[in-house]
Amino acid sequence: MDLLTPSIGLIFWMLIGFGILFFILAKYAWPIITKSISERERKIENQLSEAAKAREEMKNLKSEHQALLIQAKDERDQILADARKIRDKLYEESKEKAYQEAQLIVEEARNAIHFEKMKAMTEIKNEIANMSIEIAEKVLQKELSDKTQQEKLVNEWIKELNFN
């Protein structure tokens, strides 16, 4: 058979055969294959982007978490500092109060002592005065039996009294 002349039989069978091949493949093979390939591609792409999104979210969540942690720590520190301040203040206040109260008590005590002292002094004075009067009575009763003696004594006392 010739190399360069086309033969009718081959043209005929080629058209039929290739037509059938194309028909069958185009109907039963290529749509399924290309569709499932592109669908899978889309699916993989979606999953990749979702994974990226999830990673991003995780990162955000983590940073949020961290921020929350830092905030909590700050708050705790704040609370602790406040508590310390309050405690110090209370301590100072109570100290002041106690001091004042003590001062008051001391003052009162001092006043009481002074009062008691005054009272005792007055009593002692009264007692001494009474005793002096009694002694003086006795002495006078004795002394006044003698007239000169009486005079001398009165003078003496007067002298003494002036010195007092």
Partner: protein
């Protein structure tokens, strides 16, 4: 699971092994030849034939007898090609052509031998009925090979499609994972860049069919024994039909812009169009040269590959005719070159299928293009490949 994994390399390995042992088959066929004629030997191997010769020669030839279907003046005649005894016999008045003009064709004997069945004696003159109108629809070697490849393709892709259906959304496996990169390559590197993201889907099924059809026939042509060995994609009829289909698709999918580009090429001085329509003429010729070049390229590349391989094998017998020792010596070198060419042809098989598909999709893309700017840019892309 393991079966699937083993299957693919096994097929590749068997192809390589068959290729390796092919010189032995050929050697057997010319053991008792009288005078070895390399030219005739090669042409017989790359052209079509009525029977499928496997081994042996003359009386001891082993081959597959294929059906011959003739339409003789409207009446169909069917018989097996084995009846011809390789041109040594006539059947019901039909015989293989024996004159230089009718060589390789079927002729109808006329005169006293019309309707003759029996051996054709050498030295006897037989009259040929020149008035007979014989239309030859025989299942020749190439037609048979065409059917085998079509059945193979349908089987392969239907099973792959079934796999895709069954393993929806899962990773590819087995045959599926062998073919998926190729399908993706055709889609992403060939069809989408040439036709464009929007319109490619309509043409993808045809272009994939085209690619795999050329690829499988190129590869089968490299197998020297029965299921392969036919030079189908190196046959001008086959490549011509594929090119004509490309031509029709290109013409029917073309838009106004494409025809405007042909009849009134923009950016060309007016005196090239009026009064002598030089540019339109060139462009119109271009419409036909594109598919013509497609046809010739595939035909020439594949036939040339076959011719070179057969040439290396012929060397063994040419030198063997001089002295047997020389024949054995040369055969070692020949086999080495044959192996080298075989591997090269494996690349060519892929490249030619790729080029044909790429150019077809580029022509379709050009015919559907809207603007002018990209048209010129893309016009350069196939040029580098066309030198192939």
């Amino acid at each position: 699971m393991t079966y699937d994994r083993i299957k693919t390399p096994f097929i590749c390995l068997s192809i390589v092994l068959i290729t390796l042992f092919s010189p032995i088959f050929v050697q057997a066929s010319s053991e008792e030849g009288k005078k070895f004629e390399p030219g005739q030997f090669i042409i017989e191997h790359i052209t079509d034939s009525y029977g499928w010769h496997i081994a042996g020669e003359g009386e001891h030839a082993i081959g597959i007898s294929l059906p011959i279907i003739l339409i003789d003046n409207g009446t169909p005649v069917v018989f097996m090609s084995g009846k011809f005894h390789h041109g040594h016999a006539a059947y019901k008045g039909y015989a293989l052509g024996f004159t230089p003009e009718t060589k390789g064709k079927i002729v109808k004997l006329g005169g006293t031998h019309s309707g003759y069945t029996g051996t054709l004696e050498e030295g006897t003159s037989y009259e040929i009925d020149t008035n007979a109108s014989l239309i030859d629809f025989s299942i020749t070697k190439n037609v048979c090979s065409l059917f085998i490849s079509i059945i193979l393709l349908i089987f392969i892709f239907l099973s792959v499609a079934k796999q895709y259906k069954r393993r929806d959304g899962m990773a590819p496996k087995g045959l599926q994972s062998l073919l998926e990169p190729v399908i993706l390559f055709i889609r992403d590197e060939v069809v989408i860049p040439s036709i464009g993201e929007k319109k490619y889907e309509k043409f993808l099924p045809y272009l994939l069919t085209l690619f795999f059809f050329i690829l499988i026939n190129n590869m089968m042509g490299l197998i020297p024994v029965f299921p392969g060995g036919a030079n189908l994609t190196g046959n001008i009829t086959i490549t011509g039909i594929l090119a004509i289909i490309t031509f029709f698709i290109t013409s029917f999918s073309s838009n106004k812009n494409y025809w405007k580009h042909i009849f009134n090429t923009p950016g060309v001085p007016w005196w090239l169009k009026i009064p002598i329509p030089l540019m339109p003429l060139v462009e119109i010729i271009g419409i036909f040269t594109k598919p013509f070049v497609l046809m010739v390229r595939l035909f020439a590349n594949i036939s040339a590959g076959h011719i070179i391989i057969l040439g290396f094998i012929c060397l063994v017998f040419i030198f063997g005719g001089m002295s047997p020792a020389l024949g054995y010596g040369v055969s070692a070198v020949s086999i080495f070159f044959y192996l080298f060419m075989g591997l090269l042809e494996l690349i060519v098989a892929f490249v030619q299928a790729f080029v044909f598909t790429l150019l077809t999709s580029l022509y379709i893309g050009l015919a559907m293009e809207e603007g002018h700017e990209e048209a010129h840019e893309e016009h350069h892309a196939p040029m580098s490949i066309e030198k192939e």
